[in-house]
Symmetry: C2
Subunit: 347 residues, 2 copies
């Protein structure tokens, strides 16, 4: 099995190093032979080649069995909305070129972190949500531009039945292996793409009679996620709504620094933290590497089918937390100073 | 001063009755002469006339000094994404026809309700956010439709500089009268409309040197609202992002049932609860009317400039809560049964 490591920008570099170390350790312990290669993406790739996703990187990606990814982005571009070349273009191109249409984001709170969230423990306890975010369509990939002498901007959101159906099927199937509840989130009272989305879900539902299907408007879902997170089991939604709701839902898990995601589709899979490049804390050694470590666990489970190995990583994270170790983002007033780790120690 | 009452659908009917009663009482107490009329909108208007916003209603709206509005919607349409006539069309048409481009949503927690939220009291205490949601542009009002034999749906998001500038100025000016911090929320790393949005905010900022301006991506903002709500003072954002974020932020105030909004622009203003028609609890007398009561307070303040009268209503709500009275949505285990009110009593 061949794994490509793509650390990207900012803390992506720090946390992916830890994620890779965990893969190396697992291979050693369970007697697997993984081979590794590394490639540039994002701001570091722009600096080196002028291109956020160089052809060489894309080629290496296509030849991999799975990719452990960090994060891309740089504040320089955020403050310059007119920049023509941007790190995120590489990310979006990767998703499209590799056909990564399904983004899985499991949101589960480690019991030890009940106190790290801004939500009350009694509301949180027992929450376990699996998001399916569509990742290669919607307003992310439609035509966009300016008109009227640069005085009007537009973005086109688009979905085909086929695109909705393939992500919906993945979500229905996942619901079967879990709580058997599927919540589809849209804005069908306003958007035509959402009305198509809802039509497709409704048309598929009879094929999955064991699954209870619910539809929620995105505004109501954004509210309900905080009010009563246990209400959700599997959630399926469009690209933009998924972007917003999964970041919001990170608060259920106590910190963004704990959440991994898998992007899968037609071929190789990309495994990455849901957090960004966080340049404000880059190089300080305080980044929480657990999202990358848990990304490695997802990689072993989903792309390689290695359940036991994946479980071993999750248990190790659980033990680390039970032993009281914390990076700064998940530490609180009761954490003794000698248990507040920097990134390398946490790995 | 002439006030039009538009109760709309579901609990809109129940709560608006209470909101109107409060206006009548205030006029009596402070010696004002308000005249009232009533009009149909939403599902009830479709049933009566086939049109969710009959011409007669629109005409009455244009002739009013302010409108106290309830809610529109009906589950019948939600489950039928192909319905051609929908209650929400009336709402959107009203916003467009009356030029209601600025939707103000104050999110403030009454201290008495610190326990009603799913967010920890120590995170919440002192939160006070004023949202400016743009209300007549974005993906709500662009062209939308189907193509490829009905197999692809699309929605066009659009913003002009002029549209962004007029809402941004309102937000900058409001920040001046408050904490002097403005957070503009967009998705400028992906959307062209957001890049234009950010350009306009950046171009205006030098005119308001006393205001500290911050830009956040919508996914980060959705997370930060829960993690650290006190970080926000005035927030300005596009129509769709505002829809999602303000519903989410309702959890900061303990319940949707406590939040009022003002939609203003070129002429008359519309004042309404941010909650919907809630057909599941309609007719049971359990709806919380305080959002409509607080809408009446906003109406007096913003459209009529009657600050003292507006404050009198807010104090009365505060006293009601201090006296321990609660509707079901804001009651908890410690609320004695005889203090759990139904809608009429709460009014
Ligand atoms: C960086 C950005 C383009 C990206 C997205 O919006 O998809 C990120 O927020 C994510 O969720 O992976
Ligand atoms: C009913 C719906 C069309 C409406 C909107 O999305 O604007 C509502 O959610 C609101 O916030 O007023």
């Amino acid at each position: 099995k061949h794994i490509l490591i793509v650390p990207g920008d900012g803390i992506g570099q720090e946390v992916t190093e830890v994620g890779k170390a965990v893969l190396v350790k697992i291979a050693e312990k369970f007697g697997h032979e993984f081979t590794y290669d590394e490639a540039l993406m994002g701001h570091v790739a722009i600096e080196a080649t002028g291109n956020p996703l160089p052809d060489e990187t894309l080629e290496k990606m296509r030849n991999s069995d799975a990719i452990l990814f960090g994060a891309v982005g740089h504040p320089k571009y955020d403050n310059d909305p007119t920049a023509k070349v941007r790190p995120e273009q590489g990310l979006l191109k990767m998703r499209k070129e590799l056909g990564l249409y399904a983004n899985l984001r499991p949101i589960k709170l480690f019991d030890e972190l009940l106190g790290a969230s801004s939500i009350r423990p009694e509301i949180l306890k027992g929450s376990d949500i699996l998001f399916f975010r569509e990742l290669t369509g919607d307003i992310y990939f439609g035509e966009k531009g300016r008109k009227n002498d640069n005085n009007t901007a537009y973005d086109i959101a688009e979905y085909s039945r086929y695109e909705v159906e393939r992500i919906a099927r993945k979500a229905f199937e996942a619901a079967r292996t879990r709580g058997k509840r599927l919540c589809s989130v849209d804005k069908a009272n306003v958007l035509e793409t959402s009305r198509l989305w809802r039509e497709v879900i409704q048309a598929l539902a009879p094929e999955y009679p064991d699954i209870t299907v619910e539809h929620q408007f995105v505004d109501a879902a954004a509210m309900m996620l905080i009010k009563d997170p246990k209400r959700f089991d599997v959630v399926v939604t469009a690209n933009l709504f998924g972007d917003i709701l999964t970041d919001e839902a990170s608060q259920i898990a106590g910190s963004m620094g704990m959440l991994a995601s898998a992007s899968v589709g037609d071929s190789t899979g990309v495994y990455e933290p849901i957090h960004g490049s966080a340049h404000d804390i880059t190089g300080k050694g305080v980044a929480n590497p657990l999202a990358s470590v848990l990304s490695a666990a997802l990689l072993l489970d989903i792309s390689f089918g290695l359940k036991e190995e994946s479980e071993a990583i999750i248990s190790a994270v659980d033990k680390l937390l039970k032993d009281g170790f914390r990076t700064r983002d998940i530490a609180d007033a009761t954490t003794p100073a000698d248990k507040v780790l920097n990134t390398q120690q946490a790995g």
